[in-house]
């Protein structure tokens, strides 16, 4: 008893020593880094409020910038539609692959590995890279943006749907299999009805996510709200760029509220 108490005290003392050591080391790296880069910490800290007040003054929408609003809303609508379209198409494709590849509904080991491979390939190439690659083949068009969003969303949704199937559908599936139901009957009568709430929840999340991402893709592919923002920004119409950002935020918040409401109803 006494012995273990002693070692506990020793262990805690040792841990404290290591923690102070790490803290000291991080501090040292910072100081040396500042010296090497000739970075003045105080000056840097002081410039933050200045930067924000510059932002506030320049990006603050004025009365005149309201005239841009119809054009902005038009493009924003286009972007939201693109996000929804990409998610809906991706969801249809993803559910098909997820059923083929999940551990409980998958047809064989080879398919499971293949589907997992496809999903992680699509998912792990960054969206920006997808957009740049696709630009070569599809030029600056809405379709390029749609495709980039679609491919990444497929990767995410396959993975998410597979996990949903494995977590939620196993038990009901077993029961239907035991009644003598065939594979397709089990899929349509047990698996799909059982997972629909989680499926919809993920689809809604991806729509929110893709509205944000579509903005970024739009900058690259020259379409939608991203293009408008880029245009205003690069032509120094900061007030218009400001109102663009503001409308994106408002739309994303509206979408989020809406999908939370839908979730509450279906779950």
């Amino acid at each position: 008893m006494n012995g273990s108490k002693l070692t506990a005290a020793k262990y805690l003392g040792h841990k404290r020593l290591v923690q102070s050591g790490v803290l000291l080391l991080v501090g040292l790296i910072y100081v040396v880094g500042c010296y090497l880069l000739k970075f003045d910490t105080i000056q840097g800290a002081l410039s933050i409020p200045k930067a924000f007040s510059w932002l506030a003054i320049n990006f603050m929408p004025t009365h005149e910038s309201m005239s841009y609003l119809p054009q902005i809303l038009n493009k924003l609508f286009e972007t939201v539609l693109m996000a929804i379209a990409s998610v809906v198409v991706a969801a249809v494709i993803a559910i098909f692959f997820a059923i083929l590849g999940s551990k409980v509904t998958g047809i064989n080991k080879f398919m499971q590995i293949l589907v997992r491979g496809i999903a992680s390939f699509f998912r792990n190439i960054p969206l920006v890279a997808w957009a740049m690659i696709l630009l070569f083949s599809f030029k600056q068009s809405n379709f390029t943006g749609f495709l980039a969003l679609l491919l990444m969303t497929i990767g995410f949704l396959i993975r998410a749907f597979m996990e949903i199937i494995e977590d939620e559908a196993g038990e009901a599936m077993l029961a239907l299999k035991a009644t003598g139901a065939s594979y397709f009957q089990v899929i349509f009568q047990a698996v799909i009805p059982q997972i629909i709430p989680s499926l919809i929840s993920w689809i809604l999340y991806m729509i929110e996510n893709n509205v944000r991402d579509a903005t970024l893709v739009g900058i690259l592919t020259g379409t939608g709200i991203g293009f408008i923002f880029d245009l205003y920004y690069k032509s120094f119409r900061f007030d218009a760029a400001g109102i663009t950002v503001l409308s994106i935020i408002v739309v994303v918040i509206i979408l989020e509220t809406l999908s939370n409401q839908i979730r509450k109803v279906i779950l």
Partner: protein, 252 residues
């Protein structure tokens, strides 16, 4: 009649989960399989409808060996074997009626089953069965709204609409309170006598097994150590089956 001969199964090499299981059950009999956790009760039950592929032996349902059945034969045999689960295994999002009708899927063409098209007769029978298990007023409610005992009764109705020769119950009352357990056990017992079918239930509760079962099979370490009428299960047999406290501490 259900006959099991020399059934064996091992999940890992040299570690048999079941060795040489033999029993025979006549229609109208309620059989309880009891034994410690991990003894192999679930493996036996799931081998009977081949949800688990066993390694060797014979499983004869009215003379037909389910083990050598091909895919379509297996489907036909499975629809004669209803199954009830500890966690009910219902499709919670669907209505009570739809879950009962799932028991007919084995009899339907793939397309009709996929679309969920059932005949008027099937629907009427489903409603009659729900009446029988006392759930007729819940027919159009979602299963997720029911209590545990009610869910299990939906499970019973789903098994019965299969017109089964055998009903397998995998720990049917392990998730239920005492009152619901009694209701479910009594219901099962009455139904199998009325319909003259076989019921095999894995149970943890020895007292309930003795109270309701006609025949008891005791499993320990994958071997059958007891197989007799329920009244013959005395304290000595129970001790042999579960082992004393000292024995359980020894490595298996």
């Amino acid at each position: 009649m259900l006959e099991v001969k020399h059934l064996a199964k091992s999940y890992q090499k040299d570690k048999p989960a079941l060795t040489d299981i033999n029993f025979k059950i006549d229609p109208g009999n309620f059989v309880a399989i009891i034994g410690p956790s991990g003894a192999g009760k679930t493996t036996i039950l799931r081998s009977l409808n081949q949800l688990i592929k066993d390694d060797a032996g014979e499983i004869l349902l009215d003379g037909e060996d389910i083990r050598s059945a091909n895919k379509s034969e297996l489907r036909k045999l499975r629809r004669q074997i209803g199954m009830i689960f500890q966690n009910y295994n219902l499709v919670e999002r669907l209505t009570v009626l739809e879950n009962v009708l799932h028991g007919r899927l084995g009899y339907k063409s793939t397309l009709a089953g996929v679309m969920g098209r059932y005949t008027e007769d099937e629907k009427r029978e489903a409603l009659d069965l729900l009446d029988k298990v006392g759930l007729s007023e819940f027919a159009l409610q979602r299963c997720s709204e029911l209590s545990g005992g009610q869910k299990q009764r939906v499970g019973i109705a789903r098994a019965l609409i299969q017109h089964p020769k055998v009903i397998l119950c995998d720990e049917p009352i392990a998730s239920l309170d005492l009152a619901s357990s009694q209701v479910v056990m009594k219901m099962l017992k009455d139904l199998i006598q009325e319909l003259n079918i076989i019921c095999i239930a894995n149970l943890h509760q020895i007292d309930l097994a003795k109270e309701h079962a006609d025949q008891i099979i005791g499993i320990r370490h994958g071997k059958m150590v007891f197989n007799d009428v329920a009244d013959k299960l005395d304290q000595a047999a129970i001790t042999e089956l579960y082992g004393t406290a000292v024995e359980e501490k020894e490595p298996a």
